[in-house]
Subunit: 369 residues, 2 copies
């Protein structure tokens, strides 16, 4: 039986005494927190700000799986959280605002004009500047405004967390988790940057990047945050980690496959970008390790070329297939999925939370977007 | 009489029962907090991070007036703060880490290769990448790594504040002030960006930018933070504002003059940058308002030109002089300084705090760097 509980501000969330949380409903509740937060910001912002706010709002609601907020709410349920769900939803939503900062800055760094099937934030701000005939170089304006908008999203993520209505114990625990999470994602991004530009053969290094950049950031820390809000035990926290790291790695490995072989209509990103930027994924490192001399020459000649053509991208894909790298990554995903399922079998979580984490693990491993 | 008080970790700070705080000593104590914080980060960071940490450390200690931490400590004294100064010093130091993020991102946005007389962060990271023959475009690497390092500095600013040893009441009050401060600086930066690129005649708009970007960010909110840590009354808070806004505007107006007429050896920045970027300062808006048609044509032709020569910069300077804009700004600074002094005369602060705020106001208004 599924019982609906209304949060303090009327957000509805399924109570988890004896049923799995309704993820669609949680997602809707998180989005409604974000809508309200941004609406309040619109009312208090100086007159020239609506353009920036509107850009942020459109970006946030153009798509996004809300995986981090969902994981946060699951962490709360996993730790048998009780009471008013509203502060938990607000804390969960704050993760999405932080993620917005990461995505906006990421697109600036990659110079990607497309995200979620739309113009990326810096490209869209440049378009606006151009269309109103603003002074100076429009692309430069777009980039600069996007750096600021990312910083603002980060700042607002803080504010949403701080004003979430948490108790003192919850607030202190939440801040510690969020601080760790943020350092980790920055480390991961930097390690990724260091290895980007040309293919390398270090599978271990690519896995380290994926652990910091994705497994900890996207799954482990959001679960920990939810757990911390419920005052969880060390055993629950460790069980979250045991599930999170393999499934987070599987999530990133799937991302790498989608980056090279995905349907741009589904992913919202061109499928040549990773090759153009010379992203050193596990997929690419595996291909380098297994390549014949001729295949290796091809990878070194093409991966990291900003002017890579579709035909050249197809040649890279052919090497990823022929070396068996693509298949090996599929196997790594399956292995990690199994490991996460085993961790769930042993986890001291309520049955309903386990069921939801199973669903999420499946979605993370087999998704197409 | 000046009494020295040792903070929890051995930082020494002058007690303010009957003497003005020793600003040199406060500055040293703040720097020692930063040194310790970064050393702890070095010990816990993954192996590839030292380069990033070293860059951050060199940037932080290459200079900087530490005006925001000093204002924060003054706010605490103004509100008659008592007890262990260590948490106050740590909170004050966290403002400097946030400021480091703002400066790093600022230099990326302005594409400025020089800061504090040294290579700016993105330029220095690009140099390193080039010298180790790293993959891809070195300038792009430098820019991207600097965006990340700025984000990391912001994150660590949070962490330093959260782990400052504040009581719950202090922490909640501090978070509210810091959240407001951060939104304000982002607003100010964005308004600044909107007006940058060609000269305009709106003195009011330039003053709004300086209020958000500097007066509130550099003086008002740091004072409020210190005040909040001492649990200050609304009267003390308002008195901080009455002092802060005029002196903060004076600080920015002096900055504008130094940007156009300062000695690069003292400011650490080329004195043509503001003209090249087309920064719309009060100084420039005044010149536009007062210019003859010929002078106006000259400003429109030269201000905002990325390839501006030294001779052309001299021609712009001549217009700023001839229109009386430079002198008018000097008068505005003097007027704001007087207004701040009057506010201090009425302020319900201990005499010693008033004396120190007088010194700081003088330094902000007449400085040469």
């Amino acid at each position: 039986m599924r019982a609906a509980v209304a949060g303090a501000k009327g957000h509805t969330m399924t109570a988890l005494t004896d049923a799995a949380p309704d993820l669609v409903e949680v997602r809707r509740a998180v989005d409604s927190v974000l809508v309200e937060f941004l609406a309040a910001k619109s009312r208090s912002a100086p007159p020239q700000l609506p353009e920036l706010l509107e850009t942020l709002r459109r970006f946030l609601f153009a798509g996004g799986k809300r995986i981090r907020p969902l994981m946060c709410v699951c962490g709360w349920y996993a730790a048998d959280g009780h009471g008013d769900p509203e502060p938990v939803l607000r804390a969960a939503a704050s993760l999405e605002l932080f993620h917005t900062c990461a995505l906006i800055h990421d697109d600036v760094m990659d110079d990607s004009d497309t995200r979620r099937g739309h113009r990326s934030v810096h490209a869209s701000l440049a378009d606006r500047h151009r269309s109103r005939n603003g002074p100076g170089d429009a692309d430069r304006f777009g980039t600069n405004a996007a750096i600021l908008l990312g910083d603002l999203a980060l700042t607002w993520s803080d504010e949403l967390l701080h004003t979430a209505g948490l108790t003192t114990a919850q607030l202190r625990a939440a801040l510690a988790v969020v601080d760790a999470m943020r350092s980790e994602i920055m480390f991961g991004q930097y390690l990724d940057l260091l290895g980007t530009g040309r293919p390398h053969d270090s599978i271990a290094r690519a896995l380290t990047v994926s652990r910091f950049k994705t497994a900890k950031y996207t799954v482990e820390r959001p679960l920990h945050l939810g757990g911390a809000l419920a005052g969880c035990s060390a055993a629950v926290r460790d069980a979250c980690t045991a599930y999170a790291l393999p499934i987070g790695e599987a999530f990133q490995l799937r991302d790498d496959l989608l980056g090279g072989f995905g349907d741009p209509a589904a992913t919202g990103k061109p499928s040549t970008d990773d090759f153009r930027h010379g992203k050193c994924t596990v997929l690419m490192a595996l291909a380098v390790v297994r390549a014949t001399p001729a295949q290796l020459r091809l990878l070194h000649a093409l991966v990291g070329r900003p002017d890579l053509t579709e035909e050249q991208a197809d040649a890279v894909r052919a090497v990823l297939e022929a070396t068996g790298a693509r298949l090996a990554v599929e196997r790594m995903i399956a292995r990690r999925h199994r490991r996460a399922m085993k961790a769930l079998d042993r986890a001291p979580f309520p049955e309903a939370a386990i069921e939801t984490l199973r669903q999420l693990a499946h979605a993370a491993s087999v998704r197409t977007s």
